[in-house]
Symmetry: C2
Subunit: 349 residues, 2 copies
DNA sequence: CTGAAAGCGCTTACAG
DNA sequence: CTGAAAGCGCTTACAG
């Protein structure tokens, strides 16, 4: 209750101090503080009170060493700094993870590196030094070296639910492709309902697994809805790339009247540059973004998009990972696919 | 050279193994691997080779325990998730920190919490369990409880150079206010040069220390350049807040012809909603954003702004922190203030 | 230059 | 229910 003066700031109390003050052994202190059987309720209460009074906190290092567990998980974001600026995404994802991790007293190590190879090095270091008990992988690439590493070293690992593909050997059901399909059905039906027949898609780099999955879904959905596969142009997720790809599409014979972009940045760039592209939006060109963001909301016209609950995704990734790491079952996975949000770029409001 | 099969994946080699294989004591191994005197060059080489061969990596927990150092620093971002979405800022800042930390083998713990009080709890936990050796504080508030905590517990700490104020007792020179002044001089001179006489500013919440400093600088600069203090309306950094504040300003007698916003989101919202606000940009209203981002670049017209090198800021913060934590002098601080970037919202290009 | 030993702060069988 | 003891993997005086 009373704040005891614990002496110099440097002198952290240890369980040894607690044992001495409470008049029990170190072992009993450990049992009491960890809610393990082996001590009477009376002793437990006394130990707890003493710990509080001394302002004791477990040493992460000591605990980590004796438990052979880091008490931390890692997220290594592999993305060019230039693209990072365009990605408000991750902070929200992290906030979602945080909520789940904090509850279990697990810390989050974050690394932001320019590419996958650098990420591999980070993962190797983290795991080699046991700084983490597991990792979350995002933006999985085709033949991703991180996946190989994780498999080789047996690093517990989770991916983004419904966004990145499952890992080899992972038990996660193959929902992702199905999710992309559902999303595109919604988008395509919406556009067809508005009278569009010539659709196109500006995709992200083919190195991303989710780009590949979207390719498959897009082909299927447009074939089934329009009778033929609608064209796809690959770009690099940047505004310049999105513009170039769009120019390419508009220069074709029978240019598209509606374009679906794999992310928000490319769509926003096109809406911003509509004049120089020589189109009115949505009259000449309807635009749909593959991700939602401020960019979509503050564009004029505001951009229709596939929206996800990113915070929930982060929470789910953390949950999956802890399940593996702590070997604990958690709440059922409520899988939430993209949801179409209709705004000015696909409606004449 | 040859990858020796180290047996089961779970069996990490320790210095004990190295000592056995190399035929020396554990102490010698430690000296050799840490580049300390006390071993012959020949022994050092043999030990190193053995370590490599066995695939040894130091145990972060063991090292941390015996060195009484976590080998990690923390960044606790205190910001509402809702605002986070509007802030692509942090990932770049973190990428900047990363570059510096990685070189020293220091990990970054990240926490994203909704408010300052939650951040205090995180800092208390981190430091209590010695998960970090120090922390970086951002978005300092007036009477910030984190500053009090850091002082009370003696947590090594750094702030963003030129953005957040120095800490009490910190040695960092008081450049920040001067930096804001220089920035506003540039902005105001630019606007006055375009013929504007009625300026106004939409500020962020007064709880932020940097808002207060900008208040001072804005008052000084407008008084000296215009002969009177230009008005300021406080908003909350959100698009809705920015719009409301702007409506307020425009409804006044002698409304401003140029408005400077404390961040990018508010400025972008105003540009996006210029029609409903009943103004043309820049003809009726010139707009300047206090931060640069994709939002500014993709607005139409593109938004003039005060631009900073955020990655460099992150690097500098990490450097300052390591200087305190490692007690090591680092490169001189090259302080870079905001730089005015002129775009369509303040020019008739 | 090298080795045996204690210690960092916990956890966890193992005897009483 | 309780205590003495060994161990986690390092570091670091302290003797040879």
């Amino acid at each position: 209750m009373a704040r005891t003066s614990e002496g110099a700031a440097g002198a952290r109390p240890t369980i040894r101090d607690i044992a001495r003050v409470a008049g029990v052994s170190k072992a009993s202190v450990s049992y009491a503080l960890n809610d393990l059987p082996g001590v009477s309720e009376e002793t437990r209460a006394r130990v707890r009170a003493t710990a509080t009074e001394l302002g004791w906190r477990p040493s992460a290092a000591a605990r980590s060493l004796s438990r052979a567990r880091a008490g931390a998980v890692g997220l290594a974001v592999a993305r060019d700094v230039r693209l990072l600026e365009e990605e408000p995404y991750y902070m929200r994802f992290i906030a979602g993870m945080e909520g789940v991790l904090a509850r279990e007293g697990v810390s989050l190590l974050l690394s932001v590196v320019p590419d996958v190879d650098a990420a591999v090095e980070v993962l190797r270091d983290w795991w080699g030094e046991r700084r983490v008990d597991g990792v979350v992988l995002t933006d999985l690439r085709v033949e991703d070296p991180r996946v190989a590493l994780v498999a080789e070293l047996g690093i517990p690992c989770a991916v983004r639910p419904g966004v990145d593909d499952r890992l080899p050997g992972g038990e996660r059901p193959g929902v992702p492709v199905e999710a992309e399909r559902r999303s595109f059905v919604e988008v395509v039906d919406h556009l067809v309902g508005l009278g569009h027949r010539r659709l196109a898609r500006v995709a992200g780099p083919r190195e991303f697994l989710h780009t590949r999955r979207r390719d498959v879904a897009w082909a299927e959905v447009t074939r089934s809805r329009l009778g033929r596969e609608a064209p796809v142009v690959v770009a690099d997720h940047t505004s310049a790339g999105g513009l170039a790809a769009t120019r390419d599409l508009l220069a074709r014979a029978g240019p598209p009247t509606a374009v679906v972009y794999d992310n928000d940045v490319m769509a926003a760039a096109v809406v911003a540059e509509r004049e120089s592209l020589g189109v009115r939006v949505p009259e000449d060109l309807a635009v749909v973004a593959g991700e939602d963001s401020m960019l979509c909301r503050l564009a004029s016209p505001a951009i229709s998009c596939l929206h996800r609950d990113v915070v929930a995704d982060g929470a789910q990734s953390a949950r999956s990972l802890l399940e593996v790491v702590l070997g604990r079952r958690s709440e059922a996975v409520v899988f939430e696919p993209h949801r179409l949000v209709v705004r000015g770029t696909t409606s004449t409001g």
